[in-house]
């Protein structure tokens, strides 16, 4: 059937949380009411990436992008745009409020600088319909591999492309496949790491929600390359939409004979099962993930033996991350030279980042390696809200570190980030402004690792706890001379002796904040002062007597009655009662209350 218009509605987690399902229902109902349900097709897609402005609705052929659409807005879009052909300007995604021209999605600043390979189908196709994936050259790469290439040739292409693991480590993918292809075994496994635990990173979820078949196809290709006929996708239980769509995708792939026995009439067979995580960050570590798939406590085991020789159930196994897999079909179809032509010398291709925190355009972006942090934050991310000053960006989550303002022009790639004391990680990029305290941020990440440490090895189990306690002491104003040195010593020893990646990288947030913001630590310890005004124990709310009009508003707002005074005379705050909630400062109409 031919449709004159297509309405694409984002069905990612972020937009679903702001009622995109309701919006779809409204569209379907109103199209029917206007008798144009045979002319206009509504498609629920994956994430467009611009989560900040969600829910997003795009109407083709015009390419009109509507942002922050509510179910009530649908009526206007249907009656004005779809019936009368007049674009609803007030809902258009404009870069500035004043701009009222219609723009194709590709021309919006947020999308213009992106290069979408892993996200090529996200926000474009209906992820619950395999035919839409096939129409976008889906499963063509698998067909090509199975009918025209030998396993060694496949590995060679991946090696030549320069693709490195997108989950964090950055290990060359082709090399990993080659290692696993060597051993002789009666059974091998292909695993997919979709246990995206890094808080603030959600690219893997978006790929699974928006383009699940790209991962399935790539796993089958990997299976052919190493000689495996069984795959497992280990996905977080916290991602219900992703799990549902994966299940639908697997079922459809089996029905179409793209998974199962004798795929494309060859003697290659491959099948995939889903395993749900159960909320353990350490299960993102490869050996822990495999232990968890085996149905045990997800504790890591020492390497060697490496999974390429003894992985899942002691059989040769490869484990790649979702985003890594999503690149594979495109590399097979376009050739390794195409892929290695993008990016920097040692980091090829693109990387998806989830930008969040103090940034205007929170969302998902895919950029060529080598793009600078400045471009990501200002050109794509739209800068920092409320004209605050950029302080640092945190990459790599609890295993990574921060990039300070004076390094904002560094091209982002694996090696540059490592050199700066951070890491690529899975791609979470949290922007912080002058209101964020770096000691507090380090404490936040340590709290995370203490909580998520599996407890198997003492350096991580005890060491991270000790580091956390020191940070707690410092932020509570009990820091003393020698604390920084103690932190540094602990960090060095934990890095050297922890069993797995979680422990070995746990000190990174401390080391990196110490490297760039040592003065903040020192202010906390020696001056008992939190320069950003975050650490409660170190700040006081005070009333400026010259500005206070004595209106009593703050005194009435104070939940603990710490403020007293006489009407029309300056009030004052009793510091021994004050709980530092900040309610008074928000209430004051004269700006008389400040944090010191």
């Amino acid at each position: 059937m031919f449709y004159r218009s297509h309405v694409l509605v984002c069905g990612g987690t972020g937009c679903t949380a702001s009622q995109s399902n309701e919006i779809i229902k409204q569209f379907e109902k109103l199209l029917e009411d206007n008798n144009i349900e045979n002319e206009v097709k509504v498609v629920k897609t994956g994430c467009f990436g611009l989560c900040e402005k969600g829910p997003i609705v795009v109407v083709y052929p015009e390419g009109a992008t509507y942002s922050r659409v509510t179910p009530d807005d649908v009526k206007e879009i249907v009656s004005e745009h779809l019936v009368k052909g007049r674009i609803v300007k007030r809902l258009l995604l404009g870069e500035k409020e004043a701009e009222d021209v219609s723009k194709a999605l590709e021309d919006v600043g947020f999308f213009k600088r992106q290069h979408r390979i892993a996200l090529r189908n996200c926000g474009v196709i209906n992820p619950e319909n395999i035919e839409e994936y096939i129409a976008r050259e889906g499963y063509l790469a698998l067909g090509k591999v199975l009918t025209e290439m030998s396993p060694a040739q496949v590995i060679d292409i991946i090696k030549k492309s320069g693709l490195r693991g997108r989950g964090g480590g950055g290990f060359p993918t082709g090399l990993k496949w080659e290692f696993a292809s060597k051993p002789q075994a009666d059974q091998k496994y292909v695993c997919c790491n979709a246990d995206e635990g890094d808080p603030g990173a959600f690219m893997d979820r978006s790929i699974l929600e928006g383009d699940p078949h790209s991962v399935i196809e790539a796993m089958a290709i990997a299976g052919y390359a190493i000689g495996a006929d069984k795959g497992f996708i280990y996905v977080r239980a916290e991602y219900p939409i992703a799990v549902t769509r994966l299940n639908i995708a697997l079922k459809q792939a089996k029905e179409y004979g793209l998974l199962g026995r004798n795929i494309f009439g060859t003697d290659f067979s491959f099948d995939i099962e889903i395993r749900l995580g159960a909320g353990a960050f350490v299960c993102g570590e490869e050996t822990a993930l495999m232990t968890s798939v085996e149905g045990k406590r997800g504790e890591p085991r020492p390497r060697p033996p490496f999974p390429a020789n003894k992985g899942l159930w002691q059989k040769p196994t490869i484990l790649n991350n979702v985003e890594t897999y999503a690149n594979i079909p495109a590399i097979i179809l376009n050739g390794p030279e195409w892929f290695s032509g993008i990016g920097t010398e040692k980091s090829k291709g693109t990387k998806v980042f989830a930008i969040g925190g103090k940034i205007n355009n929170t969302g998902l972006v895919e950029i060529p390696m080598g793009t600078t942090l400045r471009e990501v934050i200002y050109d794509i991310g739209g800068g920092i809200p409320n004209e605050k000053k950029f302080k640092a960006a945190q990459t790599g989550g609890p295993s990574g570190g921060c990039i300070p303002a004076d390094k904002i022009d560094t091209p982002i790639d694996y090696d540059n980030l490592t050199e700066l004391g951070s890491m690529m990680g899975s791609g979470g990029l949290i922007v912080m402004d002058e209101d964020n305290c770096m000691v507090d941020i380090a404490k936040f990440f340590l709290d995370f690792t203490v909580d998520e440490s599996c407890g198997k090895c003492p350096p991580c189990r005890i060491g991270t706890k000790r580091m956390y306690e020191i940070l707690e002491k410092i932020t509570e104003g009990r820091g003393e001379d020698g604390d920084i040195e103690k932190l540094e010593l602990l960090a060095k020893n934990i890095k050297a002796s922890a069993l797995c990646g979680l422990g070995q990288t746990a000190p990174n947030p401390i080391l990196s904040t110490l490297r760039y913001f040592r003065d903040e630590y020192e202010a906390h310890i020696y001056e008992k002062r939190c320069p950003a005004g975050v650490c409660k124990a170190l700040l006081r709310y005070v009333i400026d007597e010259d500005k206070c009009k004595g209106c009593s508003l703050c005194a009435r707002k104070c939940p603990v009655n710490a403020i007293s005074g006489e009407l029309r005379k300056p009030y004052h705050i009793d510091q021994s009662i004050c709980i530092k909630c900040g309610a008074c400062m928000e209430t004051c109409k004269f700006g008389a209350i400040s944090k010191v």
């Binding site: 702001s18 808080p199 916290e238 159960a278 045990k296 406590r297 949290i430 990440f445």
Partner: protein, 164 residues
């Protein structure tokens, strides 16, 4: 769980659990999927349920208990009627999720994650739920509340109290 009335009636939940165990009996690495489904059925994983699973899958109760307590998704305590999950992921944290957490604890009379005395609410701090565009975010029984400020909390809780 068995009842003590002495009659031969069967607990529908126990029946369902048996079906789940049958389904996974011959699957490699079945324990975690079974625990997930058991928690769906009961809302949490009381000792008796763990025992049934241990017997059904022929693994020791100690191993089951070890797994249940290892993963944060599994709970051995019943949850409140309304389960509040507050995201304490990085994006939410830098946007003030800590203050939301303090306010929730204050309003619910809890000093950390837990269930209120009347069993109406349980509070659970969780890792990123992936709605970073709406930070700071919380979910109450799956319903998402975004772009929160501490003063939103009393009103939201009241909505659920009023529904009682």
């Amino acid at each position: 769980m068995s009842c003590s009335c002495g009659s031969t009636c069967v607990d529908p939940k126990a029946q369902e659990l048996q079906k789940v165990i049958e389904k996974y009996k011959n699957t490699k690495g079945a324990v975690i999927p079974v625990l997930h489904e058991a928690q769906e059925i009961y809302g949490y994983l009381p000792l008796q349920v763990q025992k049934t699973i241990a017997e059904g899958l022929d693994v020791s109760l100690a191993e089951i208990y070890g797994i249940v307590t290892f993963y944060t998704q599994f709970s051995i305590y019943p949850k409140g009627k309304y389960n509040i999950q507050l995201c304490l992921g990085t994006a939410c944290y830098v946007k003030g999720a800590g203050q939301i957490y303090d306010r929730l604890k204050q309003e619910l009379g809890l000093d950390k994650d837990g269930t209120t005395k009347d069993g109406l609410f349980s509070l659970e701090s969780c890792r990123c739920i992936g709605a970073c565009g709406l930070a700071p975010v919380m979910m109450i029984n799956g319903e998402v509340y975004g772009r929160l400020v501490p003063d939103d909390i009393p009103g939201i809780l009241q909505k659920y109290r009023d529904a009682e």
